[in-house]
């Protein structure tokens, strides 16, 4: 399906990542946003609040992030495409409702423009230290999708992708920006509406008598309904059966929790999102994402100028983690170098996937600025020896 032209600001723009992300939500068909102000993410909803009254939708500033992150889910069950935006401290508060969205299979989008933590940390400065929190921050076992744009253009493109994936898999999707990507201004090309592919909500065709809200289709994902259409359905955060009724048996728990993870399996394998370069014959592969991938790019180029066979593997979807691809690479490279603006998060996944077949070298940074490319270069050169 094509995008609704009402939300699409076709043209060539000069935008920062936060503003580009907002345009992505509008192009994707989001007509409802709820938010709570927090640096460095607020520009996304500020722009939405400015744009949406002429597009035909709503922004509401809620009393806190708990409220924002559940208001969007109420909106989704009312039939909307909806999202919220935050940064570290607010993301921590939203964990409860990321779990609720996973449990109730509510398609929605959470944008996190990462800043330095823990706690209040570095409100205006970058980090990539919420990567594990995005995956595991709410209690219990569940699955989510997390995408990591590295430019304003990608902030636009991946925001649309995030909404599409949320609909396809009925999961909360995280857009993991960082302060640098959120605030860097670059050219952003917004295509015509008919050049933008939108995944519509998969509403059931069954009658209310036949329909069961959590009955998986062939792809493991159940069909949707919305309130007011006569289905008289029930949604609960309790363990529930296919009808949506609470059912706290070991069997139901196992069936439901496993399906919530396995439905995402294609994204860890054949449908993983990544960008690769110079992998053929590479000795060292740099695995990076977000703003760090831009710095790593420079380091890779410098290494190659020195004759080091360095390749690039940029994570676009950090979660599900493309473990199969890393495992395949591990069998034919010497080492992975993993720079990230944290003290070692995604590097653990690389290590797990590499399973001892290649060395895995973290290049850590506590956040506040980006790496010096020389530091990454040094790690690449050493790893190649």
């Amino acid at each position: 399906m094509h995008a609704d032209p009402k939300g699409v600001l076709t043209g060539v723009h000069f935008l920062d990542g936060d503003h580009a992300c907002c345009e992505g939500t509008l192009a994707a068909g989001a007509r409802f946003a709820a938010g709570y102000p927090i640096t460095p993410s607020t520009e996304v909803v500020e722009r939405f609040a400015w744009r949406i009254p002429t597009v035909g939708g709503l922004f509401i500033q809620m009393e806190d992030e708990l409220a924002a992150s559940i208001a969007i889910q109420g909106a989704v069950w009312g039939g909307a495409k909806a999202f919220t935006v935050t940064s570290g401290p607010g993301f921590s508060l939203m964990m409860e409702h990321i779990g609720y969205a996973a449990m109730t299979e509510t398609p929605c989008v959470f944008v996190n423009v990462q800043r330095g933590g823990p706690s209040t940390g570095l409100p205006t400065l970058p980090a990539q230290a919420d990567m594990m929190q995005a995956r595991w921050g709410s209690h219990g076992d569940y699955g989510i999708i997390a995408l990591c744009p590295n430019s304003p253009q990608e902030c636009f493109d991946l925001t649309i992708q995030a909404f599409n994936l949320a609909e396809e898999f009925r999961v909360p999707v995280m857009l993991m920006l960082d302060e640098c990507v959120g605030h860097m201004t670059e050219k952003v090309v917004i295509p015509e509406a008919d050049g933008i592919n939108i995944v519509p909500r998969r509403f059931t065709h069954k009658s209310p008598e036949e329909f069961r809200l959590f009955e998986p289709q062939a792809d493991g994902v159940p069909d949707m309904v919305k309130a007011g259409d006569g289905y008289r359905f029930h949604v609960t955060g309790l363990t529930h059966d296919e009808r949506g009724y609470p059912n706290m048996t070991v069997d139901t728990q196992d069936r439901m929790v496993r399906r919530m993870q396995t439905k995402l399996a294609p994204l860890a394998g054949s449908r993983a999102f990544f960008e690769a370069e110079h992998l053929e014959g590479a000795d060292v592969v740099v695995v990076s994402y977000g703003i760090t991938s831009r710095v790593a790019q420079r380091a890779i180029e410098l290494a190659r100028q020195q004759g080091v066979r360095a390749g690039k593997f940029r994570l676009i979807s950090a979660w599900p983690f493309p473990a199969a691809h890393i495992a395949e690479l591990a069998a034919r490279v010497k080492a992975f170098v993993v720079p990230e603006l944290n003290l070692g998060q995604m590097v653990n996944e690389v290590e797990r996937a590499a399973a001892g077949k290649a060395a895995v070298i973290p290049v850590t940074h506590a956040g506040g600025t980006v790496h010096n490319p020389e530091t990454i270069l040094k790690a690449i050169v050493e790893a190649a020896r």
Binding site: M1, D4, K6, G29, R31, F32, A34, P53, T54, V55, G56, G57, L58, I60, M62, E63, D64, L66, A67, A68, I70, A71, I72, Q73, G74, A75, V76, W77, G78, G79, A80, K81, A82, E96, H97, Y100, I198, P200, R201, F203, K226, A227, G228, D229, G230, Y231, R232, F233, H234, V235, T236, G237, L238, Y245, P246
Partner: protein, 299 residues
């Protein structure tokens, strides 16, 4: 409670034991509530109010939080949402804003709505969001075993105040009025007719409406405080309740065994959220303002 002389616009199954059956998920019965609990009584009143108001049941949604009352959503044969602890109101806010033709009823307990969810309550009232909030107030955290709630009166013995509650409690009706609610009433589960009528009234009223229903929790509150069982509580409600419509909410505090002022205290006209939004946007944007079309069946 079985007799009804009202015209019933719904088909009642021939084998139904009770005219409220069409409103309930009978395949989920028996419910989890204890004998003598007041929550079921409030649900009965709720179904009667739906019946009497001839509401289109496809357009009524119930949103609950967590707790004994939080389970109401699971039994109502309506679009129903059992959300997270304290967050029924913000969920309901999103639901209402995305699909304004829905009648959105928030049905939850005192701990859920006024402790963990207190902030959401006052803000939804301030916005005059078009939500109908029914609070079953049993003066305790029942689901978790009878701990002190922000509503528990002084001197009461609870699981977390074994020597007696000493913190002052909230006066919910005063709080609702101060925060901006358009409609505020209080009843007890003894006042079934009045409660059903009040519920019917709020279905027809625009804006943020609030009904507090005092309800026994014989299992954890009355028993621990030697106040008898469910029936004794009905007698107690009957004895100490005074109907005083229009009473000043600040004078309607609840105590452990003192008077319970019941009635409709507030019924005022305030523009609701949508009206305020439309007025402001039209003033600022004129023809450029596009009415929100948030919900979509094709996208």
């Amino acid at each position: 409670m079985n007799e009804t002389t009202l015209e019933i616009p719904y088909e009642i199954p021939a084998d139904a034991h009770n005219p409220v059956e069409p409103f309930l998920r009978m395949d989920r019965m028996p419910h989890i509530w204890c004998p003598g609990c007041g929550i079921g009584t409030t649900v009965n009143c709720f179904t009667r109010a739906l019946l009497d108001s001839k509401a289109d049941l496809d357009k009524v949604a119930v949103v609950s939080g967590i707790g004994c009352t939080g389970r109401v959503a699971g039994y109502a044969r309506l679009d129903s949402f059992h959300t997270t602890h304290g967050r029924a109101i913000p969920f309901a806010t999103g639901l209402k804003l995305s699909n304004p033709e829905l009648q959105v009823v928030v049905y939850s307990g005192d701990g859920d709505l006024f402790a963990i969810g207190g902030n959401h309550f006052i803000h939804a009232a301030r916005r005059n969001m078009d939500l109908k909030v029914i609070c079953v107030n049993n003066l305790t955290y029942a689901m978790t075993g009878g701990q002190t709630a922000p509503t528990t009166p002084s001197k009461v013995i609870s699981a977390t105040n074994p020597y007696g509650v000493f913190e002052p409690s909230f006066n919910l009706v005063a709080l609702a009025e101060a925060a901006g609610a358009s409609y505020v009433a209080r009843w007890t589960t003894y006042h079934v007719k009045q409660l059903a009528r009040s519920m019917e009234e709020i279905f027809k009223k625009k804006g943020f409406c609030f009904i507090e229903v005092l309800s026994p929790c014989p299992t954890l509150y009355q028993r621990r405080n030697k106040m008898g069982d469910g029936l004794d509580t009905m007698k107690f409600y009957k004895e100490v309740s005074k109907v005083r419509h229009g009473a000043r909410t600040s004078e309607c505090e609840l105590t452990k065994s003192g008077e319970i002022v019941v009635g409709k205290f507030v019924d005022r006209e305030r523009p609701d959220y949508f009206e305020l939004l439309r007025a402001q946007m039209t003033e600022s944007l004129g023809d450029r303002y596009a009415e929100p079309e948030v919900s979509c069946s094709e996208c």
